[in-house]
Amino acid sequence: MKELTAKINHQKSKISKRKAQPAKSRNDKWVLRLYVAGQTQKTATAFNNLKLICEEQLKGKYHIQVIDLLKNPQLARDDQILAVPTLVRKLPLPVRKIIGDLSNTERMLVGLDLIERSALKVTL
């Protein structure tokens, strides 16, 4: 496992304007695992997007592990990883998975249970 230090992308984000919804797990420790395959453009995009959102939504409570499957291929089996990049929310339970480079923030927030699924439908 390899932990990378984050480079925050100062991308403009609309997230702060949104009301941060369900707050039930807000105070728990968040463990997020990002599976990638090598240092590709997709890897970088995904990581940057993740870091950005975490900083905004879960500041101080999150922990990101980045796993490069090229270096540790056997780890793909445990979390049933097919697609890369895949973000796995290990904690809080239940486990959630989001595939893609996380460029669609709303979908990502829904995937992480940070906003309700219904909110997504409205915006869609």
Binding site: Y35, A37, K42, T45, A46, N49, L69, L70, P73, Q74, A76, R77, Q80, I81, L82, A83, V84, P85, T86, P94, V95, R96, K97, I98, I99, G100, D101, L102, S103, N104, T105, R107, M108, V110, G111
Partner: protein, 581 residues
Amino acid sequence: MMKKKQVQSHRTVLPKSPTSIQGLDEITGGGLPKGRPTLVCGGAGCGKTLFAMEFLVRGATQYNEPGVFISFEETEKELTANVASLGFDLDKLVERKKIWLEHIHVERGEIQQSGEYDLEGLFIRIHHAIESIGAKRVVLDTIESLYSELPDPRILRVELRRLFRWLKKKGVTTIITAERGEGALTRQGLEEYISDCVILLDHRVNDQSSIRRMRIVKYRGSTHGTNEYPFLIDEDGFSVLPITSLGLNYFSSSKRISTGIPRLDTMLSGKGYYRASTVLVSGTAGTGKTSIAAQFVEAACKRDERVLYFTFEESPSQLVRNMCSVGIKLEPWLKKGLLQFHATRPTLYGLETHLTTSIKLINKFEPTIVIFDPINAFMTKDNQTEVKIMLLRIVDFLKMKEITAFFTSLTSGDNMESSEVYLSSLIDTWLILRDIEIGGERNRGLVVLKSRGMAHSNQIREFRLTNHGIELLDVYVGADGVLTGSARLSQETKDDAEQLLRQQEIGSKQFGLERKRDAMEAQIVVLRSEFEAEESEALKGIGIEKTLNERFTQDKVKMAKSRRGDVSIKTNGTKKKKVTV
């Protein structure tokens, strides 16, 4: 043996990866295309997974080609349990690094897509699996299920295409299974990407029984059998039967074997059936078809031959019991292992399965005689052609193996011959049992309708089941026509009576003559005795006369003496006396 021959004869342009699946290597001319992907498609439950698994296991155990099984549906545990019934010990193979099992599963509910993704994770996993055991064969079992598990089919399509190309480049022989789609080979059109070899498995239900068939839709760069071949999945795994490839070039034996019924042997020019010929006994219900078969079986077992008996109407024990009642004892042979029964209901499975099962059993038991009792059990209203094809395959197969086939067939109606005319071309010796109804009773008549290659009898014989087996009797042929049964008996009695009468008459005539002779002789005796009496009287008289005569002569001499006369007396007797005097 056959497989090897086939492989050699198809000087392969394309390197092939043998499957060791019974029959498949024959059809494909050596196996699946080596180092290329093969698509195996078919509906639910047609045996795709088993096919793929057998390919891997055989590769790992027989060709030292380790294999990776990526399952998108079943877990490792389920897979291991499922194929254990075929005798594959996956756990052991996994432990010995011959097989790599990996279950890839994505829960649709817990996945959210956000942005672009690719399937590099899958590539990495497959690559890791291949590298871990040095795999040469890979199976992707129903990769299409990814379509329902992952969002964005557009990405998937591109990625899968890339995956197949990648696998080809890696040079692993791959089987990709897919569900059959509506109007297409697969639901997601995978056949567009995998075009090296496409095998279609089919599992259809016809007349309430299921038939499994396989067809090679395409095989790029290689010749292959194009027919639909029946296949079977049983405790020995997968087996395909390319029997339609058999030809008419089998060796014909001139050896003969007894029918077990001495007089039937006589009817078949004295020696019985030809070995490896096909015998059909047909007749209406209760005419003794099974008994003729059983008699044949018993005779064969006595010669230490092995007999496989397929019965489709009676259970083995019932058959043994019934045959015992007519004095044919099958049980000892059953115990000795020379005779084996195989009892199934014809409706249990389809014709193809019957065919494949039969052939498997024949291969296993290696009999010299095979009985099918009765074959018409397979017939339904409109499957005559199919039944004929099945029988043709069986007959061809048996002839090739020099096995004598004995079929029985139940016929109905009067025109027995025409009702089975479609079978005639298959049959070498055809016996017909028919009922002969005369004088309020039914009797059985047996006739040899045809028997190829021998001068057979044209006579109808009366056929009787006795408690010591089958007996063939001459029918009565007399002034009143052909008679059987009691009519024959009564006619025979009548004949006997007449003969007796005639004999009696002769006797009495002889007796009369005898009497007359006796009377005559008695008369002779009487006459003789009368004559004797008369004779003795007469002799007595003669004696007296003689005495008197003598005395008279003596008296005369005396008188002459006394008178001193010289008169000579002219009696002989007295002359000497005179001299001496």
